[in-house]
């Protein structure tokens, strides 16, 4: 009876349920919003201050590394499995070549800028994550003490690398070692901003302006203060991200869709573009918006005594063209390479030799229209053997000391195991740089008319369309 007195509460609950259940069940819901991209952004724990932990003195970089490894036992081991150390991939099938190649990378590939690293270790290895390089073959890849922890972890105001990958003259190694922390934009930028020999020379979308970016330069870094490693997620020193300049596939690649839903646009029409157009195409309308990037490089005039100017001619390098606010060139791109020029490959039968043309075509569903910086150069080749010749430049007796092409080429060919006939000339080579950094906020993205209609920037017929898809239909209609 006592319990029964409280039955009414149950009844009242029932009444409320009768109202609440349909209300909650049928409550008008708006379409679920796109997944929160922040979920995928790593949170950075405060880094332990190492000032009191690390005590000197250190006579060399290796001694610093020894101190690091005392606590971080496996850190070097992890790094030594990455290309930041090996400068070479695992054995890989290279498009345009029949046999699997034992490994490609910065050690053995020809690029369109300073051409090749081997033989030029003295300066090139300034950007290797290791100490103790010498001339060809003198580096011990197995010695974990050669790992340069400071390059990525020290305050860049206190540390710099010098010749053969060793710490620069005058660096206070104790102060540098005490300053270690998670890598900042400045650490990555030391090498990646200045690739090719100067600020923004190579990429066009990576330069020192990213140290203090505005939101109109890079929405992630400028508006949200991202670090490189927020997108280039790192596991056991293996940093994700791939570049067509040295890789022929897109494994371990970083993608916008790692964080963003591809269909996040409020506009269905724009979402419909995502299968055909890479995010970068609209969200990176221009390359080198702040600092100019190198567009051409003619080595043939190197050594001549012409008026020098950083942006047009240097005696050691030849002629260049720089430009900023460059409109990208748009190509189909599936993340891989259609071909990769390897040391000793013959030149193209006609036209320029394309070092690393991207793969992809209108009829390949995975391929999307992607913005590229195409760098056009003229570099030396052996007219008898019909292949490109990497000159010795920074190395001992190289071009930059002698300004003598034949001897520089002789030395370079020797360092890279090539035969040099003695006859040489200069050939046009193109290199493709996918544009993927300096992403613009939606306010600055391309609009319909940027590509479509009378004033559009796309050459639809070159891309394989019969005409502007707004009138002729998309790639589905083309098949």
């Amino acid at each position: 009876m006592n319990l029964k007195r409280y039955l009414w509460i149950l009844g009242l609950l029932g009444v409320i349920l009768v109202i609440a259940v349909p209300v909650v069940f049928f409550w008008p819901r708006t379409a679920p919003t796109s997944a929160d991209p922040w979920v995928n952004v790593p949170e950075h724990a405060a880094h332990t201050n190492h000032t009191d932990i690390v005590q000197g003195p250190f006579a060399s970089g290796q001694e610093v590394t020894q101190r690091c490894l005392a606590c971080h036992e496996h850190a070097a081991e992890g790094l030594m499995h990455t290309v930041h150390w090996t400068w070479e991939s695992e054995p890989v099938a290279v498009p345009g070549h029949e046999d699997v190649v034992m490994g490609i990378g910065k050690t053995n590939l020809i690029n369109n800028f300073c051409i090749a690293a081997t033989g030029n270790e003295r300066t090139c290895m300034t950007c290797h994550a290791g100490y103790g390089w010498g001339e060809e073959g003198a580096f011990n890849f197995e010695n974990d003490l050669n790992v340069d922890c400071l390059a990525c972890h020290a305050d860049t105001a206190l540390y710099a690398k010098g010749e053969y990958g060793n710490p620069a003259e005058g660096v206070d190694l104790v102060a540098a070692a005490q300053s270690v922390r998670n890598p900042g934009r400045d650490n990555c930028g030391k090498c990646h901003f200045d690739g090719g020999g100067g600020n923004n020379v190579k990429h066009g979308d990576l330069d020192e302006s990213l140290l203090f970016p505005s939101e109109n330069l890079d929405v992630h870094m400028g508006r949200y203060d991202f670090l490189c490693t927020d997108c280039h997620k790192t596991n056991d020193h293996l940093i994700t991200g791939r570049m067509l300049s040295v890789s022929v596939d897109d494994e371990h690649q970083v993608a916008c869709t790692d964080c963003h839903n591809a269909d996040l646009h409020q506009d269905e029409r724009i979402n419909a573009h995502v299968a055909t157009v890479a995010c970068q195409t609209c969200h990176i309308p221009a390359i080198a918006t702040k600092n100019p990037t190198k567009l051409t490089w003619d080595w043939s005039t190197a050594g001549q005594d012409l008026p020098e100017d950083h942006y047009t001619f240097l005696k050691i390098k030849g002629n260049f063209l720089y430009d900023k606010d460059v409109q990208p060139e748009y190509l189909w791109y599936d993340g891989g390479a259609a071909y990769r020029y390897l040391m000793g490959d013959p030149l193209a039968a006609a036209g320029p030799t394309l070092l690393n043309p991207p793969s992809g075509a209108i009829d390949e569903p995975k391929a999307r229209i992607f913005p590229f910086k195409i760098h056009r150069a003229k570099q030396p080749y052996d007219t008898v053997n019909n292949y490109l010749l990497p000159p010795l430049t920074a190395g001992e007796g190289g071009l930059w000391q002698t300004f003598d092409w034949p001897s520089a080429l002789e030395l370079g060919a020797e360092a890279n195991g090539l035969d040099f006939s003695g006859e040489f000339d200069f050939a046009e080579t193109w290199m493709y740089w996918p544009t993927t950094h300096m992403v613009q906020p939606k306010e600055n993205a391309l609009q319909c008319e940027s590509c479509h209609g009378k004033n559009g920037v796309m050459d639809w017929e070159a891309l394989g369309y019969p005409g502007d898809p707004i009138e002729w239909g998309g790639r589905d209609a083309v098949q």
Partner: protein
């Protein structure tokens, strides 16, 4: 094909660079980059052709002006085209005697640019037989040439004869010209030539509109179409006139292919006459506010451009946040002609709804393409704008928003989609704001120092300058548009008010005061007449500023009237009119459209905001809407305390009832009075009871528990209680969102509907229960002894209750209700509840079955009834809750409704009763 920036750099580089680049660029690999040569809208099919003069000779031989009718007429039926084009006709074919047009103006002679007087351009096309000449046909063409496509009145007289067949005659307005000195001279059309319909103007990629306009203004009509070619290189201007360039022609006399720049009309072609169009994404758009050179922009603020407002060069307030295109359709690469297509274009043609059988969605029988190219109908599909009245037979021929778009995407958030779509045009929400200034008023009752009207602009700080003035833009006023199909929808408009002098001429006809006479009245020797200066120049500084140059006193008005009368104008007086301008372009997509319910469902709704017309009433004349606008029943002109004049939309008068905005005051006052009256009465009653109980404490009556309400009854009761209370609350939010703005209007509407459904089901189930269990009888008053008992009960409530007397009637399980309750509940459950359910249901049903609600008076009747009944419900709750406290103890009855067990007073005759049973 190569990178443009690359090319650009090379051109600016050193010689050495050039040599290098030449090598580098010498070889080509196709990259996806456009070059100037591949771009271009030009027709791939159009053949080369010879330019012929009016006699059909090649212009290269004759040196005569080109004749479009002859040249294009070789392949196209130009006669058909010119006679099927309201752009050519401009009202010529509908000309009547003055005062017989739909506009209602006593002096209008047609519905188009040729004959329909426009206070913006002011000059009046004089009909035959008028006392004084204002615009002759020739001067009309000179003055308005920038907006005349040729053909129609530019080639043909009002009686249909060619203008060239008319004899020069200074007394005929078709063959005369009013010179600056006031002398009327004869006009010789044979000498001036006529302006044929100018195919080049709309079909070339680079027509020279300026050169053409200059030729027309000079009276050089015959050469106007030739001047249109000035930018093509086919013809060049020389001191002796236009000279054909032989380099443009092949030996056989036809144009070289490079000079055949014929194309479908682009937005830029239409822009020449209509308004601001900006197609170049790279160049920031700029505009000069309220410049009649762009009539559409000046009158409506519409800018046709795909450029983002934030990227434009216009100094728009808060533009950083305006990351949207000026016009979504321009952004999406639609051309004007995609909607305003040739009516027999086989791609777009559609039969009108009026004649199309309803079972036919699409008629595949199409005009042959060749036949279309020979005789393309140049009557273009058009909407139903208020301002363009020419060719009314083609109004509504255009595909509208809903022809291409579905309203489907609204379903996810907008309640009552169909209802909203029925009442609102798409533009009402999708053109929420215009970001360019538009003309607000034109005051011709005074003349500025330049001898023109005083124009005021809305949406800009200063109307004249383009780049530096801050532009706020304006929110258009929503007026009820009378659609061609007979329906009515709210649609956005700009209203342009105009004040001007009219007079009676010697024939007794009313005409607007000719500009020449106005100027003569205002100025003497090029400066304001001293007589007027003395009256107008309040601060005596010798100049008239905006506050002085206005007819805001009878003295000023009389002074100007006197001077006009001195010019021979009879009975000069001021008239005022309001011309609505439809706004259908500058559409914004969903995210930028109006989505906030309270934009309309609110006291301060934008919907009911008065639109500022002018700072004062010139001459005290209240302007009226022009007769031929399709927004006749929409509101009224009101003057504020500061003298400013506003247009107050009158939607309620037009039968539009908007929840949260419309309400009938007396219903709410009556409801409030009832509610608080009853509240006050029961408070008084309760106070008296408490006082008496304190003064005369009584022994507790003898009680015994009775199982009064079974579980279902209690469940039904409380479900109903909660539902009704929540319904009253949500209803209140919907009724007064201005007071309860913290609650989402949209969710409250939804919740109200859901609760109503629950209440309805609950009521239906309980009716079933009461009927089948027979408990319904309790609610039905019995005739026998009803009044006796009712009187007993009333006396109890009014008297005995204070004395602590026993309840006169005992409450039993089968007889719970006393007569007063029976009457109340009978009314509540049989009148109020059904009434509320029916009115509520019908209001909900305006979406599904609008005609049913319409039959019963529509929302303007249903909603106030629903509101009144809601007040009665609320009032009932007060009384009902209070009366539950009149049991043996204050909480006895409430406890009973919760537990079912009620402590009932033992009545002396209970046993007696029991025996009888």
């Amino acid at each position: 094909m190569r990178g443009q920036p690359f090319v650009r750099l090379v051109s600016s580089g050193l010689l050495l660079m050039l040599a290098l680049a030449a090598v580098l660029l010498g070889s080509g690999q196709a990259t996806a980059q456009s070059t100037a040569e591949t771009a271009g809208p030009l027709s791939p099919l159009h053949p080369v052709f010879a330019l012929l003069d009016a006699e059909g000779r090649n212009v290269l031989e004759s040196g005569a002006p080109v004749s479009t009718m002859q040249t294009c007429g070789v392949c196209h039926n130009t006669g058909f085209i010119a006679s099927h084009s309201f752009h050519a006709d401009l009202g010529l074919s509908s000309m009547t005697a003055p005062g017989q047009t739909a506009s209602g103006r006593a002096w209008d002679t047609s519905n188009g640019l040729f004959g329909r007087w426009d206070p913006l351009t002011y000059r009046y096309l004089t009909p035959a037989g008028d006392e004084r000449l204002d615009l002759s046909t020739a001067e009309w063409l000179q003055v308005l040439g920038a907006r005349v496509a040729g053909g129609g009145p530019a080639t043909t007289s009002r009686n249909g004869a060619p203008l060239t067949s008319l004899t020069p005659d200074a007394t005929n307005p078709e063959t005369a010209l009013l010179a600056a000195d006031g002398i009327v001279a004869a006009w010789d059309w044979k000498r001036s030539g006529v302006a044929e319909m100018d195919c080049f103007l709309c079909h070339l990629d680079q027509p020279d509109h300026a050169a053409r306009t200059a030729a027309l203004a000079a009276g050089d009509f015959g050469w106007a179409n030739t001047a249109t070619l000035a930018a093509t290189g086919i013809v060049t201007a020389s001191a002796s006139g236009w000279v054909w360039n032989p380099q443009a022609f092949a030996p056989d006399g036809a144009l070289l292919p490079a000079y055949v720049r014929v194309q479908d009309p682009t937005n830029a072609n239409c822009a020449q006459c209509h308004g601001l169009v900006h197609t170049d994404a790279a160049t920031p758009l700029t505009l000069a506010g309220c410049d009649l050179a762009d009539p559409q922009t000046a009158t409506t603020g519409q800018v046709i451009s795909g450029q983002k407002i934030s990227a434009s060069g216009v100094n728009v307030a808060g533009k950083d946040a305006l990351n949207r295109a000026w016009d979504i359709h321009a952004e999406r690469q639609l051309a004007c002609t995609d909607c305003h297509y040739s009516l027999n274009n086989p791609i777009h043609a559609q039969e009108s709804d009026a004649t199309r059988p309803s079972h036919l969605v699409y008629d595949p029988r199409r005009l042959d393409l060749g036949a279309y190219l020979e005789r393309p109908d140049h009557n273009l599909a058009r909407g139903q704008s208020a301002q363009y009245t020419v060719a009314p037979e083609f109004k509504g021929t255009m595909r509208r928003c809903e022809s291409c778009h579905t309203a489907e995407s609204h379903n996810s958030w907008l309640p009552y989609v169909d209802r909203h779509m029925a009442v609102l045009s798409c533009e009402s929400c999708h053109v929420p704001h215009l970001y360019a200034p538009a003309i607000e008023s034109v005051d011709w009752t005074v003349l500025n120092a330049a001898g023109r009207s005083v124009v005021s602009c809305r949406g800009a700080e200063t109307p004249t300058s383009g780049v530096d003035t801050l532009i706020e833009g304006f929110t258009p006023v929503l007026l009820l548009r009378d659609n061609i199909d007979g329906g009515q929808q709210l649609a956005p408009y700009n209203l342009i008010s105009a004040w001007y002098w009219i007079y009676d001429d010697a024939n007794g006809a009313t005409r607007p005061a000719p500009l020449a006479d106005l100027q003569a009245a205002w100025f003497e020797n090029g400066v304001y007449a001293p007589e007027l200066m003395a009256i107008f120049d309040a601060d005596g500084n010798g100049a008239l500023d905006a506050t002085e140059l206005r007819l805001d006193s009878d003295v000023k008005t009389a002074a100007v009237a006197t001077r006009l009368a001195a010019q021979g104008l009879g009975n000069p007086r001021i008239a005022g009119e309001i011309q609505p301008y439809s706004i259908n372009h500058n559409v914004a997509r969903g995210a930028w459209a109006t989505r906030d319910c309270q934009t309309c469902h609110h006291d301060d709704a934008a919907l009911s905001q008065p639109l500022h017309l002018a700072g004062f009433l010139p001459g005290g004349v209240v302007p009226t809407l022009v007769n031929d606008a399709n927004v006749g029943s929409s509101g009224s002109v009101q003057q504020g305390e500061d003298g400013a004049v506003y247009f107050q939309p009158g939607l309620a008068e037009a039968g539009v009832y908007i929840f949260g905005r419309n309400r009938i005051a007396w219903v709410d006052w009556l409801g409030l009075a009832l509610f608080f009256g009853v509240l006050a009465a029961v408070s008084l009653h309760a106070g008296l009871r408490a006082f008496m109980a304190w003064r005369h404490p009584r022994p507790k009556p003898e009680l015994h528990p009775v199982y009064m309400y079974d579980a279902y009854e209690r469940f039904w009761h409380w479900l109903q209680t909660i539902a009704i209370i929540l319904l009253i609350f949500t209803g209140l939010v919907i009724h007064r969102p201005d007071v309860l703005g913290m609650f989402s209007f949209r969710y409250m509407v939804w919740l109200h509907n859901m609760l109503a459904l629950i209440l309805l089901v609950n009521a239906a189930l309980s009716l079933f229960y009461h009927l089948t269990s027979g408990a319904i009888q309790q609610f039905i008053p019995r005739p026998y002894g009803f009044f006796d008992q009712a009187i007993l009960q009333t006396k109890y409530y009014l008297y005995h209750i204070f004395k602590g007397g026993p309840h006169p009637l005992e409450k039993t399980r089968t007889q719970k209700l006393n007569p007063l309750q029976q009457v109340t509940y009978f009314g509540l459950l049989n009148v109020l509840l059904p009434l509320q359910i029916i009115t509520g249901g019908l209001m909900w049903g305006v979406q599904q079955w609008p005609q049913v609600a319409q039959m019963l008076g529509g929302l303007p009747l249903l909603a106030p009834v629903h509101t009144l009944v809601a007040w009665l419900f609320a009032t009932f709750i007060v009384a009902h809750v209070y009366l539950t406290t009149t049991g043996p103890t204050v909480l006895t009855d409430i406890k009973a409704m919760l537990t079912g067990w009620e402590d009932v007073e033992v009545h002396p005759h209970i046993e007696e009763r029991a025996e009888h049973v």
